[in-house]
């Protein structure tokens, strides 16, 4: 698996769009910095079996009967339909 950036891990809380805190170390880290190995994957649409990538960063969520626009980067912690691929 590709290395995870902090913003793709469950061990990170975002202060803002650019940086956050590593919950394991308490350190301030950049959102796009590579997280150490072993950090848990943050559920996002791009890891979900209901997500279908179209073009660019935009895709579709096929979880409902009525498909709807989606994007892979969206957090899915609170989504009841999230099913990790």
């Amino acid at each position: 698996m590709d290395k995870l950036t902090y913003r793709d891990t469950r061990d990170y809380v975002a202060i803002d769009v650019d940086k956050g805190i590593d919950h394991r170390t308490g350190q301030l880290v950049h959102a796009d910095a590579v997280a150490p190995e072993g950090y848990a994957v943050l559920p996002k649409c791009k890891h979900c079996k209901h997500y279908q990538q179209d073009e660019g960063t935009v895709g579709k969520c096929m979880a409902d009967e009525q498909e709807f626009i989606a994007y892979g980067d969206m957090a899915a912690i609170t989504c009841r339909d999230y099913t990790q691929v």
């Binding site: 202060i15 650019d18 940086k19 709807f68 994007y71 969206m74």
Partner: protein, 904 residues
């Protein structure tokens, strides 16, 4: 070097850096009182200080997705379903060491757009934002390390972050969908539907011209449709959410299919209660998601103390998601949740906390008595409350968030006042609120002290200490005047003497009606106040008096844009009263067309975007089954007419009266030519500086208008206890306060006067030509409504206060007086007593509001030159406190220019 405006003023005996009552020391004088927050709060505050205003799609995505599914539903239920989906899907963001949690979005300082209200920015900027997001994807690592300037404002794109409107940052990955979501609301948003119907208003073309000329600052219906009101925490604090759900279900059973004699909206109660239930369920899920996250963090955290704190947090959240809080910390946590739920439901600035110390007193009293909490821990919690409230960022258009609000959210907290019997309402918890505000000085919650002669002296002296920290709060508001206003405006809706005493400040200093409710905790009953009215961020907003005068003098033509805004009057002003008469005609035309267009905007809002959660909180919606849109609130006559630029207008009328009509020194035609020529100066736009001091002569040798300019600047000025000019203020106020009642809201209720400037004196000054008082084109107006123009109040603060009180302040929702004092002028206990006596003098004269900037102007100048050294410097602007670095330059310049009192 070109002669500056500052030099010209100096020649006229007006010093822009006026020191009144002595001279400040040559060296920098720090504020006398400095306090530190608890270590835990310092940590959280440091996070805030480094946090950028951030937005993402989460809430709007789920709201839109759910809304579009349910086109078969009643509008109120459809909106409730969308809100439920929005709340249920918010990602929890819990930070180490915090004891209180829950925030607007998944960031420390998060927010999100609401395209169902207004989507035009994203639709029109969509391509540009998309291109920027693509570009951001390939940005260099060097750029990545750059954080935005201007405090938390993301003024430029960097790294993978795209700047939205120079204020918010959004991840480039989010932009394409953000734009697509906006397009889904095109022609469906409140803004777009309003626009369709507004065009049916006779005179709509004039309204558009008024907006273009910046005579009016903004439309209220789709920018900030709620706010500048006081929240009511009573129902969740008394019953807990599960009991409210039960009450709503019982009510549904009672009203289903039953109009109860109300053939118009009686049947709607069923849908309304159903909607309330849905939104509460969404809010409960949101709270439980936070509880689950706290539980998860506890399980992965190595630090045992931190792990225990997460466990305790989870326990509190699971409990208050359903039941009445058991402890002070649970009650405070629940108020945080309710507050953020309301500001997530709608675009709101100025959802004020109200008299929180009186609301939470039952838990405080019982916890202290039982030894469950210490005063020190209460202060620590109240300090964190300040971090949380300051982190709330409203999302609205650039003009509103930047031009009007300076990024402020106005979660004002009121202390003091009286109880329903008329006795002092101050309690021990309010002392701690003031102490926490001094220890953790942050813009929110700014504090309004309801001054009454019955308040304890030591409480007032503590307030003086807080003022001396330089935080800009507490501001003082006159309890008697507010109660009188309550009766005048809300008597027709049943206001009683006892209930008039429940008022609080909403927004900067908007007087709001409240009510008393009986809260029972462990068998003991308490009377607690809370908000009971509709927003006052609504109506006819910020009409620029100097700009209307400009168009009066120039036959209805905007001299900046050269557009014929008003119908030409073709009058020759032979007498001073002729100018007044025409000014009033244009003023009334402005108010009338704005009244009708804004009423339509709010009507569209109430039919498609009504408040559901906020309505549930406000008496008496839960009892009656009617929400805000069906006059469910106890008090509904809250729409107002806001003015801006009072001092410059009054001074201009005084200058015209003296030099044109009394002394005949100049003809009106000569003065108009001078105005068009900007008295020989370049315009502020030409030199790209709106600073009063920086304005430059076009040609140093050009002296055509120098003598006239000198004479106009020397004309009587407001703020010196001079009847010649003060009588003009009184004439205006008497007429204006009465005229406002002629305009009616969409609810058919009369409007009233509101006299605050917020930050509009910068933006509207920028759009106004030179004025007859000698002010130059594009420069900032005097702030507030009772403040003097910088440097013109030469007779000290008592004279200024005499001028300000020539009219009856209880005829208006408010008035606003800001005073800048050098720290050395109020040093020590003696200085505190002098300051308190100054405030008392103003209150006894009938002044409504006064607040103080305690700061050495030299520090402000240094901060303007070296903003990086002053990230945490706070100043009082006009009814609110803000970080210096987050204020636009025009208002910074005005703050520097204000008269500094060295003694009195």
């Amino acid at each position: 070097m070109a002669k500056t405006f500052k030099d010209t003023l100096k020649d006229a005996g007006i010093s822009m850096d006026l020191e009144s009552g002595g001279h400040a020391p040559d060296y920098l004088v720090e504020r006398e009182i400095k306090k530190e927050p608890h270590e835990r709060i310092k940590y959280l505050k440091e996070i805030y200080m480094d946090a950028l205003s951030s937005i993402n799609n989460e809430f709007p995505y789920w709201y839109t997705r759910e809304y579009l599914k349910h086109d078969n539903e009643m509008p109120v239920v459809r909106r409730a379903m969308a809100l439920k989906a929005g709340f249920s899907h918010l990602t929890p963001a819990i930070f180490p060491r915090e004891l209180l949690t829950v925030r607007k979005g998944p960031f420390f300082r998060g927010s999100f757009p609401m395209p169902w209200l207004t989507e035009s920015f994203f639709v029109t900027q969509g391509d540009a934002l998309y291109q920027e997001s693509v570009k951001r994807g390939s940005a260099s690592a060097g750029e990545h390390s750059k954080f935005g300037a201007g405090g938390g404002n993301v003024t430029e794109s960097f790294g993978n972050v795209v700047s939205v409107a120079g204020k918010f940052g959004v991840r480039q990955e989010e932009v394409p969908v953000m734009v697509k979501l906006a397009h889904m609301w095109k022609d469906k948003s409140v803004e777009d539907i309003s626009n369709t119907y507004e065009q049916m208003v006779p005179g709509y073309d004039i309204k558009e011209k008024i907006m273009r000329s910046v005579i009016c600052m903004f439309d209220s219906g789709f920018t900030l449709p709620q706010g500048r009101e006081v929240i009511n925490y009573y129902y969740p604090l008394q019953y807990g959410f599960d009991s409210i759900l039960r009450i709503a279900q019982e009510k549904m059973d009672e009203v289903a299919g039953n109009a109860d004699g109300d053939g118009m909206v009686g049947m709607n109660r069923l849908y309304n209660y159903h909607a309330v239930k849905l939104v509460i369920e969404g809010v409960q899920t949101w709270i439980e998601n936070y509880a689950l996250e706290a539980q998860r963090l506890s399980s992965v955290t190595q630090d045992k103390t931190q792990s225990k704190e997460y466990d305790e947090m989870a326990d509190r959240l699971f409990y208050i998601a359903h039941y009445q809080p058991r402890t002070f910390i649970e009650a405070l946590q629940l108020t945080e949740i309710i507050h953020i739920a309301v500001v997530n439901e709608d675009a709101i600035s100025g959802m004020s906390v109200g008299r929180l110390g009186q609301v939470l007193y039952p838990w405080f009293e019982q916890d202290i008595a039982a030894g469950r909490i210490t005063e020190d821990l209460v202060i620590e919690l109240l300090e964190q409350d300040r971090v949380m409230k300051t982190s709330i960022d409203p999302f609205a258009s650039t003009g509103v968030v930047g031009g009007v609000l300076s990024g402020n959210s106005f979660n004002t907290l009121s202390v003091g006042g009286v109880n329903s019997n008329g006795d002092s309402a101050v309690n021990r918890l309010e002392y701690l609120i003031l102490q926490a505000a001094a220890r953790n000085a942050m813009p929110q919650s700014t504090i309004a002290l309801h001054y009454d002669e019955k308040l304890p002296e030591d409480f007032l002296m503590l307030a003086m200490d807080v003022i001396k920290t330089g935080a800009g709060y507490p501001a003082f508001m006159n309890n008697d005047i507010a109660e009188q206003f309550m009766f005048k405006q809300y008597g027709a809706e049943g206001m009683t003497v006892a209930e008039s005493r429940a008022w609080s400040i909403g927004g900067c200093l908007e007087t709001q009606p409240g009510c008393w409710k009986t809260l029972t905790l462990n068998g003991k009953q308490y009377e607690i106040p809370g908000g009971a009215c509709q927003p006052t961020s609504v109506g006819i907003h910020f009409v620029a008096m100097p700009k209307v005068l400009e168009l009066t003098l120039f036959n209805g033509v905007d001299q900046r844009t050269k557009e014929q805004v008003y119908p030409a009057h073709n009058r020759e002003f032979l007498a001073y009263d002729d100018v007044w008469d025409q000014f009033k005609q244009y003023w009334q035309l402005t108010c009338r067309v704005l009244e009708r267009c804004n009423n339509l905007q709010h009507d569209i809002w109430r039919k498609n975007n009504m408040a559901i959660f906020n309505s549930m909180l406000k008496p008496d919606c839960l009892d009656s089954g009617h929400l805000i849109n069906e006059l469910g609130y106890r008090y509904n006559a809250t729409y107002n007419v806001e003015s801006c630029g009072t001092a410059n207008f009054v001074n201009s009328m005084a200058a015209l009266k003296k030099h044109v009509f009394d002394d005949h020194s100049y003809t009106l035609a000569e003065i108009k030519l001078a105005i068009q020529d900007n008295f020989g100066f370049k315009t502020a736009h030409e030199i790209n500086s709106f600073s009063l001091a920086d304005q430059q002569k076009r040609d140093a040798g050009e002296t055509t208008y120098d003598q006239m300019h000198f004479d106009l600047l020397q004309a009587p000025k407001y703020g010196n206890d001079d009847p010649y000019v003060d009588q003009i203020l009184k004439t205006w106020e008497d007429w204006f306060c009465s005229d406002c009642h002629n305009y009616k809201s969409l609810y058919g209720l009369p409007m009233y006067a509101c006299q605050i400037s917020v930050s509009t004196h910068g933006a509207q000054g920028s759009a106004t030509m030179a004025t007859p008082d000698g002010r130059l084109s594009g420069t900032t107006y005097a702030d507030a409504s009772m403040s003097a123009y910088p440097g013109t109040d030469r007779n000290g603060p008592f004279a200024l206060m005499s001028s300000a009180t020539v009219w009856d302040h209880s005829n208006s929702q408010n008035s606003q007086l800001n005073i800048k004092i050098h720290p050395s002028a109020i040093k020590g206990t003696e200085g505190s007593r002098k300051l308190l006596e100054l405030i008392r003098a103003y209150m006894r004269k009938g002044g409504f509001h006064v607040q103080f900037n305690v700061v050495d102007t030299k520090i402000l100048r240094d901060a303007q030159a070296n903003p990086g050294n002053y990230r945490d410097l706070m100043v009082r602007v006009a009814g609110f406190t803000q970080y210096w670095v987050e204020i636009g330059k025009s208002v910074q310049d005005e703050l520097i220019a204000r008269t500094e009192y060295e003694g009195f």
